[in-house]
């Protein structure tokens, strides 16, 4: 998750639904109409790099938390990729889940979300999911060949899992080659 990490930057571009807590003139371009004001309670899809900060700042530190001025600029709404439908699908069968079709950077986004909201339940589900799927990934990486026909499971990997698969695969392959040459 470095500053220069390409995958992290791409994950940050994912759009999340947000609601504005204030009316802000001149920010209409976030909604698609340039030059106009953005209304209070307007629902906008913002990229994570913008929404993450705006969801934190804005409230006065010394203000009463219940007062009007204490709200941050935007409120992050629960995104589709972490909806209860997806959570249930993970809980029922992690291996059969098509992660890539949910989002190509599912893990990165889920980790960011869990960090932002201190979501222990989500972390628990992710841990379970990763453990189950890793086993399957290792099986594929240790046996299959990279050039062979891809199985359906291989098409469901997200970017992080792809990297995991690639590294495992090359590790197994190199070891095998070394043993044979000996």
């Amino acid at each position: 998750m470095g500053y220069y990490d390409i995958d992290d930057i791409l994950a940050d571009a994912a759009k999340f639904p947000c609601r504005f807590n204030y009316a802000v003139p001149g920010l209409g371009y976030l909604e698609g109409n340039v030059g106009e004001e953005i209304k209070k309670n307007a629902k906008v899809e913002l990229p994570l790099w913008l929404a993450r900060i705006l969801a934190i700042v804005g409230g006065d530190e010394d203000a009463d938390p219940d007062a009007e001025g204490a709200l941050p600029f935007v409120e992050l709404l629960a995104p589709e990729i972490l909806s209860s439908r997806v959570m249930n699908a993970i809980k029922s069968s992690p291996v059969a889940l098509d992660v890539h079709s949910i989002n190509a950077h599912f893990y990165a986004l889920a980790v960011k979300w869990a960090t932002l909201f201190d979501d222990r339940e989500l972390v628990r589900v992710l841990n379970y999911m990763l453990l189950e799927r890793t086993r399957e990934i290792h099986n594929h990486a240790a046996s299959g060949t990279l050039g062979g026909a891809p199985s359906t499971f291989m098409l469901t990997l997200d970017e992080f899992e792809k990297k995991l698969y690639r590294d495992t695969h090359s590790g197994c392959k190199e070891t095998r080659r070394w043993i044979v040459r000996k």
Binding site: I9, L10, Y29, L54
Partner: protein, 207 residues
């Protein structure tokens, strides 16, 4: 919206990364001059916006939450563009560094232009950078570590003598340890340390 161009650039970087991973070569695709220029234009535009906002604040005593929000969004867009540009450039300079270590400075520091066939794909600044970096490597090798070939092969040597086959006709080549007459498809039984560099350059194939 702002930042979309940056995402496009990073996608380009991602593609370059995957290309070098799958093919294993250190060829770099063409430098995205237009895209980078457009992003820089966008940043200049954002900067102008920020300055206008600032002067407005001073004039109308507009110092409230709303102005802060506008200012912040502008700032974040610039930050994002900066990150995209830097990540793209970092990826390329990493590839350049790798190329400088792997291919240049071999033997008696063969000429740079011949070794780097992707030269035209680099921007002017990258060419400068590559030249200076190669110079740095040369300086380091001619410093305290002259008895070790730092850019040599990282595969541990297993045999003292090896069989090699000549892949490319190169005529008579003088190495530090003696003269070889490299005729295509001839074979030699030589000390590995002598021909390491010729293997890296692609004249010989280890058997």
């Amino acid at each position: 919206m702002y930042g979309d161009l940056g995402s496009k650039l990073v996608l380009e970087a991602k593609r370059a990364q995957q290309l070098s991973q799958s093919s294993g070569s250190d060829q770099l695709p063409l430098y995205q001059d237009d895209l980078v220029r457009n992003i820089l234009r966008e940043i200049a535009h954002l900067k102008k916006n920020a300055e206008i906002l600032k002067s407005q604040q001073e004039l109308e005593n507009f110092d409230n939450k709303v102005a802060k929000c506008q200012y912040f969004v502008t700032l974040l867009c610039m930050e994002r563009n900066k990150r995209c540009l830097l990540a793209y450039q970092k990826l390329r300079s990493d590839a350049l560094d790798a190329a400088a270590w792997n291919r240049n400075g071999l033997d008696t520091a063969s000429s740079l232009s011949a070794a780097k066939d992707g030269s035209s794909n680099l921007s002017h600044h990258e060419q400068e950078y590559l030249k200076d970096y190669v110079q740095l490597i040369t300086d380091m090798k001619s410093g305290d570590y002259t008895d070790i070939d730092l850019s040599g092969s990282l595969t541990p040597p297993s045999d003292v003598f090896i069989d090699v086959r000549v892949l490319k006709d190169a005529g008579e080549i003088q190495t530090e340890y003696g003269v070889f007459n490299l005729i295509k498809d001839s074979q030699f039984f030589v000390r590995q340390a002598d021909v390491e560099r010729l293997i890296q350059q692609g004249y010989l194939q280890k058997l």
